[in-house]
Amino acid sequence: MKNKILFAVLLALSLSSCSEDFLDIAPETSLTSATFYKTETHFEQALTASYEPMRTLVYDGIFMDEMRSDNSFYTYYAGDRGPYLYNEVIALFLEDETNQHVSSRYNACYVGISRVNTILSKIENADLEDGKKNEIIAEALFLRAYYYYDLVLHYGGVPIHLEEVTTADEAFLPRSSAADVHIQIAKDLEEAMPNLPVANTFPQSGRTTRGAAKMLLAYNYMSQPEEDYEKAETHLKDIMGMSYSLLDNYSDVFDPAFENSKESIFEVQYKDGDAGQQNDYVWRFIPKCDNTEFLMGVKGNNYAYTSGGWNVPTQEMIDSYEDGDLRLDASIAVVEGVQNGDNFIAEAVTNVSSFTPSDGKDFHYFINKYYHPPYEKEFNTGSNWPVFRYSDALLLLSECIVEQNRNDDALPYINEVRKRAGLPDLSNVTLEDVIRERRHELAFENHRWTDLIRTGKAIEVMNENGDLMKSLYGFVLPIAFNVTQEKLIYPIPYRELQINELLEQNPGY
């Protein structure tokens, strides 16, 4: 009898001879941190991924940097109430701390910073050849500076994370001062610059270069609370000595055939198709209409959700161009058609400079720079987004010199830009001239709002613009366009304040 019991117990045990290995199941379809960050390829892949959040910055920038300014507005559409108001309130200066653009941009910057910090933390002990290691570190530092610059520009002083966050506790840091953020940016860029490549062959790859670092550093010096124009000028002049130059035709700059050209210092890369690398920005810019296929070559509904009618050039913007400025038609086009209530049917696309509205027709302006139809797929275009261009460097240098009251020294740089635009040379230059030139040269490239802030013109210009908008559009609430010093930076996102008690909200929100 006992043998039988023993037999049963042994049988039970033998059948259950599974070991602990049975419980070790790792995902087969993805890597984990345990196996990643080991090889040179891994770090290159990690670096590649660190560029990706820039795309979010471009998208939110369309609203937060461009539509916020006097360059553009939006076409009112009754259906865009409720959840879609978050676009409009940016233009109306009515946004609050729950605005989705405000949180999306903030998050994207920190996602980028975290990816960079992970690289920097892991690469120290990685078995990589020194030269390669330094290259990767340099590129990573540029990206971190880029994201912190975007943060300090839009939110003021923010928490500075320089190490990979591996536990919940490490995620809680208070805000640093704006000045400290600017110092950190300069530090990262100065450290990165020697190991960054100089762009010599065009088209460029799309990776960052020493030129881009110098450009960012110049912006940083000119935007910090205590501007350092001298240092900025040095770096901008270094750029003049590099292989960059203007393209002959302004409109070529935005032609997909000339991406990453010799005029490009840094641009955010996209590619159309099914690999998920596309953007849909031009679909946002064209008017909401029933027959998008007429404009784009392929149908895509753009009334709501993935809607159009945003970032629409204002009449005042169009009127501000000098006669004969070749940049007007390259930057803005007009579509004529029939309006029925909120519904629009497009009939013709024409140049703005030669446009006179026909009787019984309605028309909408839209940004022409990124418009290269026909497209093959709805909401799928491959146009890169310019971040820094050589003309930007020329004008920033002009601004930098004018700010140092050596106005005449700035003339050659600004006139080089004007010449390409088909405009006569200036014989003397003021800060206003530079600001206006930047407005037209860099129109709809997400520069205008931060230019106005940097040059101290934002409050004046935008209040004036607000009065104009209110007089034109009855739907603009009286409370809108109350542009004060506090509105020059956006709020820290609501969620962050709820979670991290160490954070304080910006005044006015």
Binding site: A8, T48, R115, E170, Q498
Partner: protein, 1131 residues
């Protein structure tokens, strides 16, 4: 049924063993290969005694052995009295392929034994004694056994007391016993009935009426890894017999269980064919790890959920509620366990049952939104543009189609366009046969439910064969095999969030879904409104078939090592293959905001799940005097893998071919994931004299899902019971027929998180360099090597009370649970690069009272049973993530529920609606939102940055505006029986919960983009024309706040619903056509409900019974009322 078998089987014949082995193989093959063979076999049994042929060859064997062999080789069984029949005598027999009567004639030739043959029953009697008894007035007794309503009871065992002689009643309830002495006593017994004894005396005809046993204290109930007598149970278990709900015309088992259990909330949140049921036991909730109970089918915690099973193949369902009942399921038991037992045959059972019912699904008018008709809406639009011109310098004029509202009448009712009365049908064939060594139960079911929404349906075929084979006295094998094949077509978007009707009825009601010439417009775009497809075409033309095949198998062997000690090895597999295909033609793409024609798209998606479990258990049952022990030890391993693939196709040449092979662009993807688990279990049930009851149970689980530092955990429980009514002192309280006190404590877990959540995952994040895609990778989550189970500690105390001879049976339970270490991705500042980290944090408390009362109110000719259950579940969040940050409620729109420390879970969170600023003075003196103007909506200023009202209306003014947690839920079942009529009505309901009618965000949108409720005509238009004070003006830029989550949308959701009403009539028994019995029934499902709630379904919830996010109504697949007729035939 008693079967005489007191001699041990002797395996002394080699040929006999071989026969057995062949039988095993034959049986197994037959079971696996074909269900229909068993059908043939069973129907052949009708004339069993004539058709069965036996071959025997014994010389000089004990008669008893020969009889035993006949029993083993056939389904015949012998009844005899050892005192009168000499079974030890030696006999010879050599017959080949002879009928039973020939065999018996041969066998008993030359003995003093006579036999009589009734179906499979052979009664042996002594010829000598017979003659003697004849002398002493022995006689034949016959009679009829009925139930208290006079219905014949087939299958009742009638035995002469102290002997094994007896009979079993036939389909008419008739029995006959020969040669009974006057002083002998007949014992009548039947499962579920009180046993009766009658002295024969000088009667020759004895008719007996058996009385139902009120409460089955001696009934055996399924528990974790076994069964237990109800009287000995110490945990909190509710069980229901499948018979109680057999007539309901529902596809889904869950619907039949509504209102049946205390402590179990079962809601039908939508009416999607075959779906829509949500479960929650004892109010359990988790933040992210779900609160669906573990479903265990015949001992297998399987992937196949309750909704895939056919209700007809179920025998009983037990719900395990407290930790002592569930702890043997360890890390998966925190949400409670539903044990499902499928039908098994019993020895002596032989029946064929066919059931058919056909019904019609109809959507009631009640609760449909009260929307404007075409003329009212055109008037609104006209005034909207007029007001825009007046207040906003709008110069576009009133669009032409709204200039003359009177030209329209009612317009289109999209409910009528998109809904239909739908057929629902169910056919079930059940074949059950149990003979000595082999028992089989085969169930075939076909069910089809056409959806009430056009072009939707769900169809299911279930086949199940449950077999057990007693190979030897000690060795038993079993094979349970279930195959489920389902197909369905449910157009996506019908059930999640706003459904298709909810989209359609928001359109301008003057639009026509069909042109006057009979053609169909493919899209609509009314001025100032969104472009929409024609939803009629969307339903008609979109293709979304899903096919699913499940195979559930369980094979086991059980060996009795010594008396009472059993080893069981069981292997179970659950395979599920799903294929889904979609196609959206150019004319039916899009949705709200997006109108066709758009390029066609399609997809092809597959999923393959495999889960297997190997269970080793050793059980030992032993009684020493009055000490009864029941020991269980076990070890099991389970692994589940999942593989999926999907191909998305676009750029089709046209709408002609739906399959993706013709598409120019096809993008594919495939993936896999897996989890595994190792467990040890142990349990000791001990009782003294069935009076003092004690149980300890333990499970140790190791799982792949948890962090390397925390893979293993222990789940113990202990419980005790005291049957007070068995104590002597209770004799003084004769009205108390049963009283038991129970208490338990234990710990269980919840492991419902992703398979790899503890790891820091590296995701693909590509970018472009040199105009080519460059591979990139980045961490997509933070790892946590300490991640482990969510643990629930539960205490339960209960009382079972039977009164008035168990006419009233009451069960009461109080429970208190603490769920700790909640699996929760705690929010961390995004400055870390990550929004959250998977952690064990937070603590919820749950407590509550449960009462159920079973009562037999009337037991005479008119019978009335009523079962009532009430559950009072309470909960509170004690601790949450970092800084106790509340969960949910962070947006003005959507995100309606908030869970906060010190409060019940998932409260509705939003603004308190306070009417409209009717005058300039009101505007000037009252708190304002940034967008406020005279005539706009006003919310209450209840807070500010420091919690003090600050005159500003912003997110600081969001507060608790409702509670979706009911004060109590209840169920009430009434059953009536009078002669051949029976009736039942099942109620279920809840009291004290709120519902948030989020559909109002759309139907009270006054921007003119949607159709809306009639009340919106009463809006503020000017100081002179200020409306009803509840509806604001339409001024651009001011209307958003009216659409914030607010108290105006919150309603009392208490309800009482008549879930099912059934009336049945048992047809007079007839032997014609071989029909033993038949019953006709009419059934009405979801008959009606009583509630203040204004919507269509008071059980609605966008997120099911999710503890943290329940009670939101956003329009769903409507729940039909089903009128059905059915027939049940026993052959």
């Amino acid at each position: 049924m008693e079967k005489f078998r007191n001699a041990k089987l002797q395996m002394n014949s080699f040929s006999y063993d071989l026969l057995h082995l062949k039988k095993v193989l034959k049986m197994l093959r037959f079971t696996v290969l074909c269900f229909f063979l068993s059908l043939l076999q069973i129907s052949a049994m009708e004339s069993y005694s004539q058709q069965t042929r036996l071959s025997l060859n014994f010389s000089n064997h004990r008669l008893e052995d020969v009889l035993k062999t006949i029993e083993d080789k056939s389904e015949f069984f012998f009844l005899y009295n050892r005192d009168m029949i000499d079974v030890e005598q030696a006999v010879d027999i050599n017959v080949n392929n002879k009928s039973i009567s020939s065999v018996l004639d041969e066998l008993l030739k030359g003995t003093d034994i006579a036999y009589s043959l009734i179906d499979r029953q052979i009664i042996l009697s002594n010829l000598e004694n017979n003659s003697r008894i004849m002398v002493t007035q022995a006689r034949d007794i016959s009679g009829k056994v009925t139930d208290s309503a006079g219905m014949p009871l087939p299958g009742v065992t009638v035995v002469i007391k102290g002997t094994t002689r007896g009979a079993i009643t036939d389909s008419e309830g008739m029995y006959q016993i020969t040669n009974v002495l006057g002083e002998e006593v007949l014992v009548y017994s039947f499962v579920g009935m009180r046993t009766q004894e009658i002295v024969v005396g000088n009667q020759s005809s004895i008719n007996v009426s058996l009385i139902e046993e009120a409460i089955g204290i001696e009934e055996v109930v399924a528990i974790a890894y076994g069964t237990q007598k109800k009287r000995e149970i110490t945990g909190a278990i509710s069980s229901v017999d499948a018979n109680e709900m057999k007539d309901m015309p529902t596809m889904n088992l869950g619907q039949r269980l509504q209102g049946k259990f205390s402590g179990v909330q079962i809601n039908q949140t939508n009416g999607e064919p075959g779906g829509g049921i949500s479960f929650r036991i004892r109010g359990q909730a988790s933040i992210n790890a779900g609160n669906s109970p573990l479903v265990v089918i015949d001992g297998f915690p399987s992937l196949t959920g309750i909704e895939s099973l056919s209700p007809n193949e179920i025998e009983s369902i037990s719900v395990l509620k407290d930790a002592s009942a569930t702890s043997l399921y360890g890390s998966r038991a925190a949400n409670g366990v539903i044990l499902i037992s499928t039908k098994q045959a019993k020895v002596g059972q032989s029946e064929i049952q066919f059931t058919a019912n056909v019904g019609l699904d109809v959507i009631p008018e009640k609760g449909r939104p009260n929307l404007m008709n075409a003329s009212e809406f055109a008037r609104f639009k006209k005034e909207y543009y007029e007001d825009a011109a007046r207040y906003e310098d709008y110069a576009g004029g009133v669009p032409e189609q709204y200039q003359n509202p009177d030209q329209y009448q009612d317009g289109t009712d999209w409910f009528d366009v998109l809904l239909r009365d739908a057929l629902t049908q169910n056919y079930n064939l059940s074949l059950v046969s149990g003979v000595a060594d082999f028992k089989t139960a085969v169930n075939l079911n076909y069910n089809k439910q056409d959806g009430v929404i056009l072009n939707t349906f769900s169809e299911r075929f279930n086949a199940r064969a449950n077999n057990t084979f007693q190979a030897t006295d000690k060795l038993k094998f079993g094979l349970n095999l279930g195959v489920i094949y389902q197909t369905s077509q449910i157009t996506p978007g019908l059930s999640n969030g706003r459904n298709i009707i909810g989209s359609a009825f928001l359109m301008d009601p003057s639009l026509k879904y069909r042109n006057d010439d009979g053609t169909y417009p493919i899209s609509f775009h009314a001025p100032g409104m969104f472009a929409n497809p024609n939803y009629y075409l969307v339903l008609k033309q979109r293709v979304n078939p899903t096919k699913q095949l499940n195979v559930l198998s369980n094979i086991y062997g059980e060996y009795e090592v010594i008396d009472g000690l059993r080893y069981k090895l069981s292997a179970s597999t659950d395979l599920r293959n799903t294929i889904n295909r979609t196609f959206e033609p150019s004319t039916a793409r899009g949705g709200m905001f997006s109108a066709p024609p758009l390029p066609p798209i399609g997809s092809y998606n597959t999923g393959n799940h495999l889960s297997w479990l190997i269970d080793n258990t050793l059980t030992y049952t032993k009684s020493i005097k009055k000490h009864n022990f029941d020991l269980l030890g076990g070890y099991n391993t389970q692994k589940a893998t999942y593989e999926n693939s999907n191909i998305n196709a676009s750029q089709y040449p046209d709408d002609e071919i739906e399959w993706i092979n013709v598409a120019t662009t096809r993008i594919g993807n495939a993936g896999t994931s897996a989890w595994s688990m190792i467990s040890y279990i142990g349990r000791l049930n001990y009782n003294y004299d069935s009076k003092y009851l004690f149980s300890v149970a333990f499970r140790r689980d190791g799982a792949s899902r948890f962090g390397s530092n925390a893979k293993w955990a222990n789940f113990p429980s202990v419980s005790a019971g005291w049957v007070i009514s068995d104590e002597g002192f209770m004799k003084d309280y004769p009205m108390v027929s049963w009283l038991k006190l129970r208490a338990s404590y234990g710990e269980v877990g919840n492991n419902n998180i992703g398979n790899y959540s503890y790891l820091a995952n590296v995701a693909t994040v590509n970018y472009v360099f040199n105009d080519a895609v460059e591979a990139g990778r980045a961490l997509s989550s933070m790892g946590n090597a300490d991640l482990t189970w969510e643990t629930t500690k539960q205490f339960d105390i209960g009382l079972d009370l039977g009164l008035f001879k168990d006419r009233v049976y009451l069960m009461y339970d109080y429970y208190s649970k603490k769920t700790d270490g909640l699996l929760y991705a705690i929010d961390i500042p995004t400055q870390s690069g990550f929004p959250n980290i998977q952690s064990n944090i937070g603590e919820f408390n749950f407590w509550g009272h449960e009462v159920s009362v079973e009562s037999h109110i009337l037991t005479g000719e008119f019978k009335w049973n009523a079962n009532l259950n009430l559950s009072f579940d309470r909960n509170e969040a004690v601790r949450l993530g970092t800084n106790d940050t509340p969960i949910g409620g962070y947006a003005n729109q959507g995100d309606e529920n908030r869970t906060m420390v010190g409060h019940p879970l998932g409260l509705f969170w939003g603004y308190v609606f306070d009417g409209v600023y009717m005058t300039q003075e009101e505007y000037d003196t009252q708190p304002k939102h940034y967008s406020s103007m005279v005539g706009t909506a006003r919310m209450k200023d209840v807070g500010g940055p420091d919690g003090i009202p600050d005159g500003k209306i912003d997110m600081d003014d969001m507060t608790v505006i409702g509670d979706p947690n009911p004060d109590f839920i209840y169920g009430l079942t009434n059953e009536f029986r009078y002669k051949k009529f029976d009736a039942s009505i099942v109620f279920a309901g809840s009291y004290g919960n709120d519902i948030m009618g989020r559909v109002l965000e759309w139907t009270e949108n006054i921007d003119g983009v949607f159709n809306m409720t009639k009340e919106m005509a009463e809006r503020w238009r000017s100081i002179e024309n200020p409306g009803n004070g509840q509806v604001p003006r339409t001024r651009s830029g001011t209307t958003e706040i009216y659409r914030y989550n607010n108290s105006r949308w919150v309603e009392d959701g208490s309800y009482l619903m008549a879930k099912n009403i059934t009336i049945g009539y048992t047809l007079p028994a007839s032997t014609r056509g071989g029909i033993k019995s038949a019953r006709l029934f009419l059934s009405l499902q979801n008959a009606f409900f009583v509630s203040k709630y204004s919507g269509m379904n008071p059980e609605v919830s966008r997120n099911g019974l999710s503890g943290l996010r329940q009670g939101v109504d956003e329009t769903f697949y409507p729940v039909p009322r089903t009128y059905s007729i059915g027939l049940n035939i026993n052959l």
